[in-house]
């Protein structure tokens, strides 16, 4: 029991502490790829520390929903961090499956979109409206891709999928697996506000989605929101890394095995980060109303992945 609690705390700390590093590494890498020096890799930590020290300005128009949202959002990310297989195949909330995970992300988005409307500025409303549109259209891809994984592993339980793939690597060696991976990768781009869906570096009114929605936040509220956004990216990357390439994860709670597992996990994350940076520097942002086409494409990939299971059995 104590071991489990310690592992749960470590896992949350890995996600919470690793997320700003991931964002920093991604930013630096993208800058280098386009020939800029870019900020330090550790800059996001400094940014968070600065925001926590600053005074928060809260609009008089807002209600308690605006003030509660950063905590709700942060909380959904902490719970998700207890669900995603990272140190072990069965983390603290090891019963949980992919459906719960998806709905927890929706819970965060729901409150954030309400907060965007709460200040009564046109920016916030615009951001909320666009954010929920993108999130809603990504939903079918997520569920069908989950089906693709569940069909192969015969469970929707995250730990179950990881254990099954680790036991039976041949399951991963099929085109359906790759298709489901691509579908979820595109969903990650949409859900975490990356290029070509949303530009995390922009503050141009017409193109903002996520940034417009959180425009009214400042001080420690903004710190929590930004931190949660970084954790969301980290968690999505972890999911992609460990669901589709589960090898190397510790099988038991022995300290050495967990350390090795963490190193392998870091290597997988680096690989994914490089891929994401390459993609983000080579594509332009899509017009907002072309995004549904991209998501329809990802849905087609997920559907093909499922059909390949039915047709090849």
């Amino acid at each position: 029991m104590t071991v489990e609690v310690v592992l749960a705390v470590i896992q949350v700390l890995v996600v919470a502490a690793g997320a700003p590093l991931l964002v920093g590494a991604l930013r630096t890498l993208k800058a280098r790829l386009v020939g800029r020096r870019g900020p330090r890799v550790l800059q996001p930590y400094a940014d968070l520390a600065k925001l926590f020290r600053k005074e928060a300005v809260v609009s008089t128009t807002t209600s308690w929903v605006f003030r509660a949202t950063p905590y709700v959002l942060f909380s959904t990310m902490v719970v998700t961090a207890l669900i995603v297989p990272l140190l072990l195949a069965r983390p603290a909330l090891g019963f949980a499956g992919l459906v719960l995970l998806t709905y927890l992300f929706v819970l965060g988005t729901f409150f954030l979109a309400l907060a965007g409307l709460d200040a009564g500025s046109a920016f916030g409303g615009m951001g909320s409206s666009r954010e929920v549109a993108v999130a809603a259209l990504a939903e079918p891809t997520v569920m069908v891709a989950i089906l693709a994984l569940a069909l192969r592993a015969e469970t929707t339980n995250l730990g179950g999928i990881v254990e099954r793939l680790a036991r039976d690597p041949l399951l991963a060696a099929n085109p359906g697996h790759l298709l489901a991976f691509s579908a979820l990768f595109i969903v990650m781009l949409a859900e975490t506000g990356r290029l070509p869906v949303d530009n995390p570096a922009t503050h141009l009114e017409l193109t903002m989605i996520h940034e417009a929605m959180v425009l009214e936040y400042s001080g420690h509220y903004l710190a929590l929101v930004e931190w949660a956004a970084a954790m969301k990216l980290f968690l999505f990357m972890t999911l992609l890394a460990n669901l589709f390439l589960p090898w190397g994860m510790a099988a038991t709670a022995a300290p050495f095995a967990i350390l090795v597992g963490l190193l392998v996990f870091a290597a997988k994350l680096i690989l994914l980060t490089v891929a994401l940076a390459l993609l983000e520097t080579s594509v332009a942002k899509l017009r907002l109303f072309r995004v549904p086409e991209l998501l329809a494409g990802s849905f087609a990939l997920a559907l093909l992945s499922v059909l390949s299971v039915f047709l090849l059995r």
Binding site: F52, V144, L303
Partner: protein, 636 residues
């Protein structure tokens, strides 16, 4: 006086809930009286599924009647029709023969029709009542025809006899009876494309009646579909299940798409009822297919999911309708575009509406999440069916359900955000006051039910398993894990909703505590919203409901076929000085334009022809009678 009638309804509701829960847990009984009406007399019978629906009606009636005490005495009040309505609602699930069933069904329809027609001077309400009367009686005609057909071929009008005789029926008779009964029940449930009455009638009724109509009356259509699909006609052929699951998927997506672009708060909720009936029918259809394939355990899971969602929807939809009623009462309009900022003026109603929005969007740890989760787990196991075509149907249902969940969340961000947040968009919204204590109490009952049905999933699911097991013919009521954790199909999926709720609370408390202890959260200043340097923030700068729904209107352009109406009044001297701009961008209903209008056109033409028979001359009428007599004699 009216308050007394509602107090009686509260008592009746509590009694109904008590009897219903007892029946749900296994108490069966029958009451019979052959003397009051012909054709088999009146007969009531209790079994678990009837008990479930009676309990649902009882609890809903209790809370809506409490709310109605708070609004009693208003000019639109009609307590007599209300009492008849809730009484008939309670009899429908207990009816054990066609006569009793149809009598109760018709009283339920007529009483609710009178409640819809409460404002006789209002053209919109009159039209709503007219469409409702036509659609509900078309449905009644289908039910009557189907039941008489079954009665003629089985020689009995008792439902129990039908179940016994059904396997021996000729397939054509069985198919025709199913089609007629399914059409009648689907019309009452508001399945697309038989839904046209629902978004008209539900908003026109007083809010406590809307809550009952959306929460439980349309559920009785689902009840009928379950009875027909599983019991009255024996094991349903594959095609029936496929029809139901596809109808459910279409209703879910189309219902939520219309809800997204509707800015009448109560009509939005009515469209959303169509969506939720769709979700329930996806479960029912899935259960029918699994049962036909011999997978009783999966059929049980799918039906439990559907019944759970039916119960949940009754609770959160009633909560939302009561909240919307309080808002409409305070603002004096149903249009969301004149609301806003109500969270500060009506904190209780806002809290209830937010809880209902979270529940209906299927967000953990509330009840809507549990039933949607169960539905997904049932659908995801379709790989155990052999036929790839059936697998494809399930994959489409999963995608439709996922899209519905996403769009539903977006819809309720709009419904809550535009109605309750930011600045008031009208003077009336700025002067709004919170609901009366009795109204709050009614909402509180439903809000509590939403929380308890979510956190108590491990207790609720085995009970529903007991209700559904005899319906699908499963030997056991299923294995559902222990009180701490819900388990589905062995190790396929688990859920411990209490743990998730606890983790969410802890996850929010830690940063809250840390920031409060370090004094960070005290560093806060109140100031106006940032607005690019303009002088004053007004409600005109807020995002409107129309603007919020615009991305969806563009993405689903092929479905909405929106019209753009732009009217510019310019200054007579120069067209560059615009004096007034009127802009509207309404969505058009493809069902009305492509289905109902042509069908009504054909009907009208046929009636015009038939009118020639009605010449007004008595001699001609006598000739008709004579000819009819001759024909009948010859046919004998």
């Amino acid at each position: 006086m009216a308050a007394l009638a509602y107090a009686a309804a509260v008592a009746a509701g509590l009694g109904g809930a008590w009897i219903g829960v007892a029946g749900m847990l296994g108490a069966t009984w029958t009451v019979r009286s052959e003397h009051v009406v012909p054709l088999g007399g009146l007969e009531l019978a209790m079994d678990p599924i009837a008990g479930l629906f009676l309990a649902l009606i009882g609890i809903s009636t209790t809370a809506t009647s409490l709310y109605a005490i708070g609004t009693a005495g208003e000019p639109r009040d009609d307590p007599a029709a209300y009492l008849a309505f809730v009484g008939a609602l309670g009899v429908v699930p207990l009816a054990a023969n066609a006569m009793t069933f149809l009598l109760a069904w018709e009283i339920m329809s007529l009483a609710s029709w009178m409640l819809v027609l409460n404002r006789r001077d209002d053209d919109v309400a009159r039209r709503a009542a007219w469409v409702y009367a036509v659609m509900t009686h078309a449905g009644l005609a289908c039910l009557l025809a189907g039941m008489l057909l079954l009665g003629a071929h089985t020689g009995s009008l008792r439902f129990a006899d039908w179940s016994a005789a059904a396997p021996a029926l000729a397939p054509a008779v069985r198919g025709a009876a199913w089609m007629l009964l399914a059409l009648g029940f689907a019309g009452k449930a508001g399945v697309i494309p038989l839904h046209v009455w629902l978004p008209l009638a539900h908003p026109a009724a007083p809010s406590h009646v809307s809550a009952l109509m959306s929460g439980v009356m349309i559920k009785l259509g689902v009840y009928g579909l379950v009875r027909v699909g599983f019991e009255w006609l024996g094991t349903a052929p594959l095609a029936w299940g496929v029809v139901i699951i596809l109808a459910g998927a279409v209703s879910a997506v189309v219902g939520v798409l219309y809800a997204l672009v509707d800015h009448d708060l109560k009509r939005l909720l009515a469209f959303c009822s169509i969506e939720n009936v769709g979700i329930i029918l996806i479960g029912v259809g899935g259960a029918m297919i699994f049962r036909q394939a011999g997978l009783e355990a999966l059929a049980l899971l799918a039906l439990v999911a559907a019944l759970y969602h039916a119960v949940n929807h009754a609770m959160f939809k009633a909560l939302l309708f009561l909240g919307a009623g309080a808002v409409v009462h305070a603002v004096g309009s149903r249009s969301m575009e004149v609301m806003g900022g109500l969270i500060k003026r009506m904190p209780w109603t806002a809290g209830g509406f937010l809880l209902g929005s979270l529940a209906i969007a299927g967000l953990p740890p509330l009840n809507g999440f549990v039933s949607e989760w169960l539905t997904f787990q049932a659908l995801l196991q379709n790989v155990r069916l052999e036929d790839p075509a059936l697998n494809l149907v399930f994959v489409l249902a999963i995608a439709a359900l996922a899209l519905t969940a996403g769009l539903g969340a977006a819809c309720f961000v709009k419904a809550f955000g535009i109605t309750f947040l930011a600045l008031p968009r009208s003077e009336a919204a700025g002067r709004a006051h919170d609901a009366a204590p009795a109204m709050r109490l009614g909402m509180l009952v439903f809000a509590l039910a939403c929380v308890l049905l979510g956190l108590g999933a491990t207790v609720v699911v085995p009970v529903l398993g007991g209700v559904a097991a005899p319906v699908v013919g499963a030997a056991t009521s299923g294995l559902w894990g222990d009180t701490a954790r819900l388990s589905v199909s062995g190790s396929f999926a688990h859920l411990s909703i209490v743990t998730v709720a606890g983790a969410l609370v802890i996850g929010a408390t830690i940063p809250l505590g840390v920031l409060a202890l370090t004094g960070v959260s005290r560093r806060r200043r109140l100031y106006e919203t940032w607005g690019c340097g303009r002088m004053l923030q007004t409600a005109r700068m807020e995002y409107t409901a129309t603007a919020f729904a615009d991305p969806f209107k563009r993405v689903f352009r092929f479905f909405y076929r929106p019209e753009k109406r732009l009217q510019l009044d310019v200054h007579p001297e120069s067209r560059f000085f615009v004096q007034r701009i009127a802009y509207a961008n309404p969505a058009r209903s493809i069902f009305e334009e492509w289905l109902y209008r042509p069908a009504l056109g054909v009907l009208r033409a046929a009636i015009a022809r038939a009118q020639r028979l009605q010449s007004g001359s008595t001699t001609a009428y006598l000739t008709y009678i004579f000819v009819t007599l001759l024909v009948l004699l010859v046919l004998r």
